[in-house]
Structures are given as C-alpha cells and as structure tokens.
C-alpha cells in the first residue's frame, strides 16, 4: 500500500509538534506512573532477596562455624530432631550458601573477592511449631560448640515484608490510576489531532488513501508518547536504584544488608516499564482512532 517511512515520520512528528503541550502532559504522566511501577518492582525484588533465607516459614537460623566438626554438627542435628517444638529443619551447606552470598552481594565486588567458599558458614533453617518460641529455642543453641550465631529476628523480617507489601500495593495502586489517566490523556491528544486534521482526513478518503495509511500516523503518535514516557521512567528507575544502594550503604541498615538489586532485577524492571509504556500509548491512540477516525 506504499506507506513510505518518510511520510509516516513527517506526519507523526508534525502531529506531535502541533499538540506539543498536551503531548508533554501525556508523556510526563506516563513517566511518573511508570517510575512508580518501577520503584514498586525494585522494592519487591530487593525485599525478596533480603528475606531469601526466611522463605517458607523459617523462623530460626543457626549458623555453624565454617570449621565446625562433624561431631558438633551431629550434636545440633540430634537436638533439632528431639526438640518437640521443632516442626522441621533443613541444612544449607557451604556451596549453596556461597552461591546465595554471591548473588546477594553481586554489586559489592570487593566483598565478593575477599571471601572464599571455605569462609562461608553452613546453616540450619528451622521451622517451629509455634513461632513465638523462636527466642527461647534460639537461646538453647546460642553458644553451643561449633555454633557461630543464632538469628531469630523472624518478627522483624515479617514486619519488613508486611510493610513492603503494603507499600508495593499503595504504589501500584497509584500507578494504575495514573496509567489510566495517561491512557485517557493520550486518547484525548489523538482525538484533538484527528479533529485538527479532519480536512486532510476527508481529502485522503476522497482520493482513496487506505484506512491504515490514514490511521498509522495517529497510532504512531500515541506509541511515541508512550515510549518517550517510558524512556524518562527508565532513567528514573536507574536513579532510584542508585539511591537505594546509597542509602543502604550510608546508613548500614542491618536488616536491609541483603537488600540488593542485581543487574538482572533492574533489567527486568526496565523491560516491564518499556512494555507498559508502549502498551498504554498504543492503546490510547487505538481507542481514539477507533472512536473518532471514521474511515
């Protein structure tokens, strides 16, 4: 149907420029809402990594000395097996712990290089029948031969997860509202564009321009707005990640020491942000074209 690239680019750019204020409003709304989506995702991923060891209802962590003897380990296992309040437990060996360590501190290469697998403590992850017994059970193991440390900070972890999930909910809720308004804004921008070009559209229909020839520049206008909004949000996500890292290192928050955003997490977040931006832009313009462009 002979849709030349030059024509499409010229028409789209022209439309965007003509409605630049409205376009800017739409793009910024998308940018803000997607930045929120991005931070919510980063928060979720960070909390997930920092609470990794506590997954599955684990309430008590017993870290062994890296050089604990077999007899020492056996003594712990025997006690875990006989204590009535222990529901179940699992052993995490050095190799697995080391892998987790590498993942958690992926963005601190100095630390990674200074610690070898041999220095990593293996651990027992204990699930209790009654979580409130964690401190008293923890005391039993604390200071036993071969035990390096006992961590029953389970309650704090739970609070952290709860706070983070509420925060995520609120942020995502806000983002959804903003994304809906962004869709409506784009719909309106495209409607105005269609209205201001109705003479051209009439003439195009008159001389036999195909429907897609008429529609595509308008659709592309919405797509571009979504994409530009997403690009701004993408930059914001990188900034937010840097801020998280800075705050955690600056204030040495113990609980959040494992709050790590790996490059993979950030990449996935950026991809989600781009995808949503493009979908919102295209949806808004597609709705406008369907409703207001009578071809």
């Amino acid at each position: 149907m002979g849709l030349s690239v030059e024509y499409v680019v010229r028409e789209t750019a022209g439309n965007l420029w003509r409605n630049r204020l409205m376009s800017l409003a739409a793009m910024l709304t998308i940018a803000v809402s997607l930045a929120l989506v991005g931070s919510a995702l980063l928060l979720k991923q960070g909390v997930a990594t920092s609470t990794q060891a506590w997954k599955g209802g684990v309430q008590l962590l017993i870290f062994m000395q890296p050089n604990a003897t077999n007899a020492q380990s056996k003594a712990i296992v025997t006690q875990l097996g006989t204590l009535p309040s222990v529901q179940r437990y699992s052993y995490v060996n050095k190799a697995v712990s080391y892998q987790e360590f590498r993942r958690l501190f992926a963005n601190q290469p100095d630390l990674l290089n200074s610690v070898s697998e041999a220095q990593i403590p293996p651990s027992y992850r204990v699930v209790l029948k009654n979580p409130s017994e964690a401190p008293s059970i923890g005391q039993i193991f604390n200071g036993q031969p071969g035990v390096k440390a006992v961590d029953y900070n389970f309650a704090a972890i739970q609070t952290l997860e709860k706070v983070s999930s509420i925060a995520q909910g609120v942020i995502i809720g806000l983002a959804v509202i903003l994304l809906l308004s962004a869709t409506v804004l784009i719909l309106n921008v495209i409607r105005v564009a269609i209205f201001s070009r109705r003479r051209e559209v009439t003439v195009m229909k008159l001389v036999g321009a195909t429907n897609w020839f008429i529609r595509i520049p308008f659709m592309l206008e919405g797509f571009t707005q979504g994409l530009v909004g997403a690009l701004i949000a993408g930059a914001a996500v990188l900034g937010i990640r840097a801020l998280f890292n800075y705050l955690i290192q600056r204030f040495q928050v113990h609980l959040l020491s494992g709050f790590v955003l790996t490059s993979h997490d950030v990449l996935m977040t950026e991809l989600v942000v781009f995808a949503i931006g493009v979908v919102v832009g295209t949806t808004g313009s597609a709705l406008a074209v369907r409703r207001y462009l009578d071809v």
Binding site: G2, Y7, M204, V207, G208, T210
Partner: protein, 230 residues
C-alpha cells in the same frame, strides 16, 4: 460504467431519500443530475462513491457491485473515481502543486512520479504559472481547477461533480465547464449534480431529473426545466 437497479435508500424510518431508482451511465457519457434540494441527488452521489450503501437494489460502478466490496477495499475502488465539490475541499496550508501531489502521495506514488505528473495536469487545467500559490491566493475558479486537477490526476474512469459551479460567477463557471468537457472527451464519464439552469440549457447533454427520490425525467439532450420547475 454506472448502473443502479431499483435502488432504495432511507436515512430515517419511513422516509426514503431514494425510492426505486434505476439508471445507467455508459463509458464516456456526460450526465447532468438535476432536481430541487433534498430530492436525492447528493444521496445518489454518496452511493456512487460508496460513502453509503443502498438499503435495497444494487449499485454497480466501474464493474463492481458496491454492496459486495469489503470496506477495506473501498479506498482502492475510490481510486477509479475522481470527485469535486462546491467547496473545493483543498488543503489550505498546501500549494496548488502540493494539493495535487498529496493525492498521489496518499495512494503510494513516488515523489518522482508526482514531479512528472503534477505539472502536466496543472498545465492541462491552465494553472502552470500558479503552481506554487496557496488556495487563498487563488480565485474560486482557480481553486476549483486545482480540485479538478487533483480529481483527474489518476485518470479516473468516472468523475463525480457535486455542484462544482455553485460558488462561482457565471463566467468562471463556464471556464470550469469547458474543462470538464475536455476531460469528458478523454473518455471519462462525468456525472454532475447542479442547479445551474444556464449551463444545463446550453450544454445540451443528457439530463436526469430527480424528484422526491425518484427519477422524474431522463432526456438524451435535455434542458433544465420545461417551465414546471422554474
């Protein structure tokens, strides 16, 4: 070229814009469509351009049954038909050249093809020297010539004209009519809806009179009225 068979069209229940119209126009014919406002002339032109579909009966244009063309093919069908209007329908921010070139561009012709064809067609309509003027720098007659150039640049088989002289003074109107005659001589059928008594009476072409949605008269070398409708 054009065939309407017992065509009915209604826009409101019980009120027919066209009721039982049958008409045939041959290749290269020149037909005046006359009748009072609201008689159904515009409805007929809309059906021929496939802007509307007949409720009953069939409309054949350029070998196609218009009720059977899927809507995505309508644009391709329209490329066989040129159309001009009382209000010219030019793009005000484009020069005469650009207005005609736009028609070629939107159907996917290359810029090169436009550079060759547009000056030729503007020469044909007598505007070679005003190619780069904007519509508001041209007279009404000149604007209509640009519109004719745009309609004719693809050498359509049929030219539909909806009161093309309605906004023009008599002398300018005649200029436009001579141009339409020339186009007609190249083999393009011209169907022109008009109220212009002088033009119809002097041209002595086929006259189809529509009244209240039905054909009241169809004369091979007709005049506007026999005193009845004056």
């Amino acid at each position: 070229m054009i065939r309407l068979e017992n065509v009915y069209k209604s826009y409101a229940p019980g009120q027919f814009a066209l009721k039982g119209v049958s008409l045939e126009v041959e290749r290269g014919e020149f037909v005046f469509l006359i009748g009072p406002s609201g008689s159904g002339k515009s409805t007929m032109l809309r059906l021929l351009l496939r802007e509307d579909i007949a409720d009953q009966g069939s409309v054949w244009v350029a070998g196609k049954d218009l009720s059977k063309i899927p809507s995505w093919k309508v644009p391709y069908f329209r490329r066989n038909i040129g159309s001009i209007f009382q209000d010219f329908r030019l793009l005000p921010n484009k020069s005469a050249y650009e207005n005609v070139a736009f028609a070629l561009e939107v159907i996917g012709k290359s810029r090169k093809a436009a550079e060759k064809q547009v000056p030729q067609i503007l020469e044909l309509v007598g505007l070679a020297d005003k190619m780069h003027r904007l519509p508001n720098e041209l007279s009404g007659g000149e604007q209509q010539r640009v519109a004719i150039a745009r309609a004719f640049v693809n050498r359509p088989l049929i030219l539909l004209a909806d009161e093309p002289t309605g906004n023009l003074d008599p002398e300018t109107a005649w200029g436009v009519m001579r141009l339409l005659e020339r186009i007609n001589r190249t083999g393009t059928a011209v169907v022109m809806a008009t109220h212009d008594v002088g033009i119809v009476d002097q041209m002595r072409r086929r006259v189809v009179e529509i009244d209240s949605g039905a054909i009241a008269r169809d004369q091979i070398r007709g005049v506007y009225g026999l005193g009845v409708h004056q």
